[in-house]
Each structure stands twice: as C-alpha cells, then as structure tokens.
Symmetry: C4
Subunit: 246 residues, 4 copies
C-alpha cells in the first residue's frame, strides 16, 4: 500500500470511529432509540457518505457502516439492508456543501413541537447552536397520506428544501433532522435541541418567556461551535457513553 | 423421542425463550413493574396459552412459565400460584383467533388516560401501531365496586368485548391491555402506547394538537409491524435488557 | 444460650434484616434520599422500636440499627447520634397499637401536595393502599416558626393526632409519614403514595379526574395488603435493590 | 520538608480531594453536565482559589486542578486552558470574604426561572438553604448582546454585585451561581436549588402555593447547614458518586 493510500485509509477509519461513537453517544443521551440515525460525508470524496446498515444506533459497530452515493446507492455488494430513510442524508449533502454530518431522530422532548405551533427558538445559551429559525416540514403537503417515512429521494429533497440554510428542521408527527459541519457539532446541536425543547415546555408552564436575542444566538453559537467547547463537550459525552480511554 | 416430537419441543422452547425475554424487556422499559404480565398462545395448540406463575416480570425465568387452557385451568400439577388476572389472556385468545400475544400492564404514563376523557389517538408515526381507536372499559359498569382485578372469566370476557377488534383497551383506574399477532409486536405496541401517552400529555400543554390521519395510522402501522422494523426494534430492546449475545 | 433466647434472637435478627432491606428499597425507589427514615416496632416488646442511627438509608447496614423506648430514649450506650426526628416513630407507636412499621420521607412527587390544597385521594387500584383520607399537618398551627423538624415528643404527638386512624399524613412544606402493620406493607404504602401523587399531577393536566370509589378503595387495598401481593411486590423491590439471592 | 510545610501541604491536598469529590457529586446529581464548574478558596491564602482546568466536571481528577489569583491569573506555567468563566469565582471571592466555595451551573430545572418572572423562594425545608432572596442578573443590562459567557472580571464583578449578600443568583438565559462557606455546603445549596425549582414547577400546576415563612427559612437553613446534616448528606452523595470507601 502506498503512503498516500495508507494516509487516506487512516483518515477514513478515524472518521468511521467518530461515527460509531456518535451513534453510541446519541443513544446514551436518548436522542435516538430503536430508530433514528447519524451519517457523515466521506472525508475525501464529497459525493459519498457513510451510514450504518439498518440497525439501532445503540448497538452499531464499525462493521455495520456502509458507504452510499448521494443518490442512496450502496457501494459494494454488502447484502445487509440499509436504512429506508437514508435519502434524508443524501439529499441534504447534495443541497448543502457546507454540511458534513446529519442526524435524524425522534427525541421525545422535541416531538410535541412537531405536532403543534409552539416555537422552539433558543431560550438559553447552550441551545443557541440550533439557530434562530427552525422550519417544520409536513409530509402531507406534497405526499398526502404515507407511512410517514422519508424513503425516497423525492421526499428527501422536499425535506431538504424545507431545511434550507438552517441547522434544524422538524418533521410533523415524526421527528427532526440536524445538520452541521462535522459529527461532533451535529451531536451538540442534537442535544441542544432536546434540551431547548424540555426547557420551553417547562418555562411556558411558569409564565411569559424571554428568548435569546438574535445577537446572542449568533455570538453564543459561534462560541459554542468553536473547537474548545466542542472538544470539551465531546469528552464528556464519550465518557458517559463508556468510551473511557478515548 | 421422535423427530416430530423433537421439532415440536423446539418450537415450544423457542416460544418460551421469547416469552421470558418479553417479560424482561417490558420490565426494563417500565411498561410492567411488580404487577402486570405478558402471555403467548401455544404455538401448536390454539386452545392453550403460556404465562408466568404469579411473579414480577423483571425476575421471571423459563422455570416460572405455566400452561393454561383458555378457561384459565392450569395444565399439570404445579403447586405454585398463577396470576389471579390470567383470565384477561384466556378471554382474549377465545374471542380473537388472530391474537397470539397479550400484555396487561399499568404503565404510568398511560394511567391518566384511564381516569379522564382525554384521547390517546396516535400523534406520531411510531405510535401508529396502537391503532386509531382505543376503547375504555370500566369495571363499575357491569360489576360495581370490586377489588379492581379482572379475576374471573366473566370479567375477562367483558373486557375482551370492550377491546373488540382493536389492539389496545384501557381499564379505568387500573391500566391497559395490548393484543397482537406475536410477542415482538405486542411489545412494540405496549411501548408505543407508553410513548404516545407521554407525548400527548406534553403536547397538550403546548397548544392545539395535530393527530395522524387515519390513512397515516394505517400505512405507518402496517410498515412498523412488518418483519424488518419489528426485528430491528427487538434487537434494540434485547440489548437494553441485557441479552447481549442474542 | 437457652432455646428460648435463641428463638428470640432469631426473631429479632430477621426483623432487623428486613428493616435494612426496607431502608435500601426505599432509597432505590427514591422515596427517601439523604434524609428520611423507616422504623419497625420490636417484635417481642411493643414498648420498643428499632431505627438506624442518623445515617442516609441508602447506606444503612445492620450495624447502624439502634433500639429506642417509645419516648425516644436510646437503649444501651452507643455513642453514635440518633435521628433528631425519631420522635415521629415513638409517638405513632404509642398512639396506634396496630402499627408496627413507620416511614418518614420527602418523596419529591408528594411534596407539592403538602404545599397546596390538591387532594391525594387514590386514583388507581395500586394506590388504594394509602387509604381514602390523607390529613395534612402544619407545624405552624401549634409551634409557629420552627426549623421544620419533628424533633420533640410534643411535636411527634401533635403529628400522630393529625394522622389519627389513617395510613398516611402529610407535613406542610416538609414531607409525609406512612404507618402500617408491618415493614413490607409500609413500603407498599410509601411507594403507592409516590405513584398516586405523580398520577394525580399528570391527570389534572389532562382533564376532569375520576377517583376510585370508597368501596373500590376498601376492596382493592384489602386485596393488595394481603400476603400474596405483598410478597410478590417485595420480591420485585428486593431484586431491584440488589438483594439478588434473597 | 519542614513540619509546617508538611502540615500545609496536607491541608491543601485535603481541600483538593474534597474539590474533586464535589465535581463528581455535582455531575452525578445532574447539577453540572458538560459545562459548569465548582471552585474552592485556597485554605491558607485567601487571595487564591482552586478550580479545574477547562474540563467537564464528571471527569475531573486531582491532576486537573489549577490555582488562580482572584484576578483570574493562573499560578505556574501549566499550558492547559482554564475555564473562560473563572472570573465568576474570583469576583465573588473578592467581594465576599465569607465565601469559600462557589458553583456555576445550568441545572435544567433551574433554567426556566432565569427566563420568566416566577419566584424560586423556598417551598420546603430542605430548600431553605438557598435563602429567601434569589436575585436575577441579566447580561443584557450592562453588556448588551454577548456570547452569554461571564468571561471577564468586569462581568464577574457585575454578577457578584447582583448576588450581593445572598447565597444564590440566577443568570438570565444561562444558569445560576451558588456561594457558601465551604464545599459541602455549596453542594447542599446547589442541590436544594435544583429540588426547589422542580417542586415549584410541580406545585404551581396543582394550585395556590404556600411558601416557607422567613422565620422557617432562617431556622431550617441554620439547622441544615450545621455540621451533622451536612456530613450526613455528604456521606449520601459520596456513596452515590461511587466513592464507596470514603
């Protein structure tokens, strides 16, 4: 193997190690349960992405990771089943060159906000990472009665258009998607979304709510999504997920 | 032992292994606690069903499983006590040939819906498996003041009539029953019921609710109760319940 | 040692083993935390009771148990500190010959009911064990501003009068007491109280509440506090508290 | 090493051991998560304080502890990064000679009270330790749109002025600070704050609230912050945090 080939292999393996850890962290933090998934764009080929075979994230290992084209075609001849909803990931990677990691989940605290018109605008600094605008996509609008899965490129693109340039979108009666520049950031956004949902729920029961200003959201999210805070939070989540020595 | 006898024994033992796992999973997921139970119809004799002796599901083992006629008569001379409420299971198996697995539980998030008139209609796709209609049975209507247990075939049949052709029924001030074609599906329905109850509670505090349409409930539940999603969820629940190698 | 002395010692040790288990179970089930306690009347001398030295129940062992007169005088010359609030126990044992076990705790779901006028009447069959009437005692009424502890026999008797013939009483801004014929029953009552409080909270947010009837409370509590259900629940709680082999 | 030097070293090491335990306890009790911190004033030099390097408290060890001047200058040439918000601690130690331990955290149940005008006045005796008055500081008032961090001495002093002579202050859309005479007391105050927030939330949903009187707050907090209750609670928290043998 050439030195270049070794280097490339190492970059890919490091990415996949992080992807497996992201699966386990999101399971530990109850963002994803039996369903839901997290992907990463290929670090050397922007026209590909990595995603587990159809398996609950809590038990995903390196061996479960598959490679896909942005159209959702599986690379290689692995006979195992991919996620039916992988098209969410491909569509976003196509439309958003800045995005290198995507989660799709049904975090329980977020779901109520997909079924009513309450706002999920950030209320505290750690949730600023979700961004000021959180659009809601309803599969009924374009597709009518379905089994609720985003299981075609057409649905993936429809959802991606709803996401636009934002970091988070909600799916009515279904869940949420989060998009970021890297895996560690998309985990921070997914957890910030969960926490903001819990806090809005609690605060609305107490009285009139004070949200962060647009300026605070911009400045706090820029700070939190910078390397130091992301690394510190990642250390915490990996320890909680049982990756003691990493 | 003849080849046929061996085959039959293996089918029964596989069913009982799954029944023990269902007990442990439902305990781990806080559907059942010290009380509550899960049964399975005999895989080779539709006039019989299997159920643990009177014991908390969290600690049920293969050795605790007893066999009953649909009238609740215990097969064999095991001196241990059966559940007083086993008649729930027999009555449903009598009335519903399509049902091969039943749970009875007091999941805490479901109980409020047995004591007031709020609707439990599915609000998100993973809860579609509970079905669009969830009748409520009140022991007062036919039996007046009781100790609240469904401890006779007369009460079991009354409850079964209330269930009708549905997958879930509630018992006023008591709990719920879930019925399905197999053990893995009845676990999915029991957990979906718990989650839907939690989400309706949370969403109603935020604002006006959007439920799934009848078409979405039909299509999403057909998809979720198909082999792939059931197997994927079962893998997740067994891992969480500590059945690592299965 | 005479045969009689051995028999008496064994009875006492069995009682203390159960008392230690009750401490651990109540800690595991989040009824008691750093504060709160559980006592048992001496099985052979009704004028004495057993209670841990001042220690968090989660870490109480056999060696921590002390013996007291009903007036709260410690038997023997153990230099360790007793609970300041032991007088709760002595006063109830004096006034209620039928009571052989008492808990005092600050279960979080119960506390709101001590600070407002919402009713804790049983809403589901497993909570019937707390009884239909739950009086509230306010230390202000007789004692004005205090440090809120029931740390004298005068306060203990005041609280015991408020309890009357009931199984549960609340202490305004402080917590609850539960009284029963034995340790396993007082654990069931303490846990039923916690669950009923959680459920009333949840149900009131959904709509108008249907409580159990007086007849249902009487019949369901008589059934649940009989030997079989108590033993089954105790097996469950001991397993959860880590007493695997018992 | 002189006898005096050995004695001083031992005093410092004992303080740092307690500081590490406070980090772990606050993580275990979900007061602090990936962010948030706890400090202690130098036991022999009131112009210095100890605080972990920038690291999640759940994984802080003795080796992570750094020493700072009250102006936030790091002692020694450790190249590792300190917390950007260490100025909270220095400013309070400057303004409050009675304070020897400080926490800054984002306990989830407390956050809603930073974003609306509901009161956090103590409702039950164990929460009396937070004190009757809990001021709210808003970074907007003096500093306008920021990244929400208290990352300068100017901001630290502004916050410290808001705290005044109290034990707790809230930061709008951000979190809380707690100040006490020692580490064990500041842990008790931080946990009491979390519990009081949860209980006010729950009680307000049930009906009109009865708070503790000023006299009760004074007497109960004096009792709880005395050596016996603090030691008993600390034993409980250390056991839960896994410090079995301490």
């Amino acid at each position: 193997m050439s030195a270049e080939a070794i280097r490339e292999k190492n970059v890919i393996e490091a990415t996949l190690t992080t992807l497996v850890m992201a699966n386990r962290i999101l399971a530990r933090e109850t963002i994803i349960d039996n369903f839901g998934h997290v992907s990463v764009r290929h670090p050397l080929n922007p026209d590909r992405y990595f995603l587990s075979r159809s398996r609950s994230p809590e038990i995903v290992t390196r061996d479960d990771i598959m490679e896909f084209t942005l159209e959702g075609e599986q690379i290689g001849d692995d006979p195992r089943k991919p996620y039916a909803e992988r098209h969410i990931h491909g569509a976003i990677y196509k439309d958003r060159p800045d995005v290198h990691a995507v989660t799709h989940h049904h975090a329980r605290s977020v779901l109520p906000f997909t079924m009513c018109d309450a706002s999920l605008r950030p209320m505290f600094h750690m949730a600023s990472v979700i961004g000021a605008e959180i659009p809601v996509w309803d599969s009924q609008d374009e597709f009518g009665d379905t089994n609720m899965l985003v299981d075609s490129m057409a649905m993936g693109h429809s959802l991606s258009r709803a996401l636009g340039a934002n970091r988070v979108a909600l799916l009515r009666g279904h869940g949420a998607i989060c998009a970021a520049t890297d895996l560690k950031s998309v985990v921070m956004i997914s957890i910030g979304l969960r926490d903001n949902a819990e806090l809005i729920q609690a605060t609305r029961l107490l009285g009139a709510v004070t949200y962060l200003t647009d300026g605070e959201i911009d400045k706090a999210s820029a700070m939190l999504l910078s390397p130091m805070p992301v690394a510190r939070a990642w250390d915490y989540w990996t320890a909680r997920a049982g990756f003691g020595g990493i």
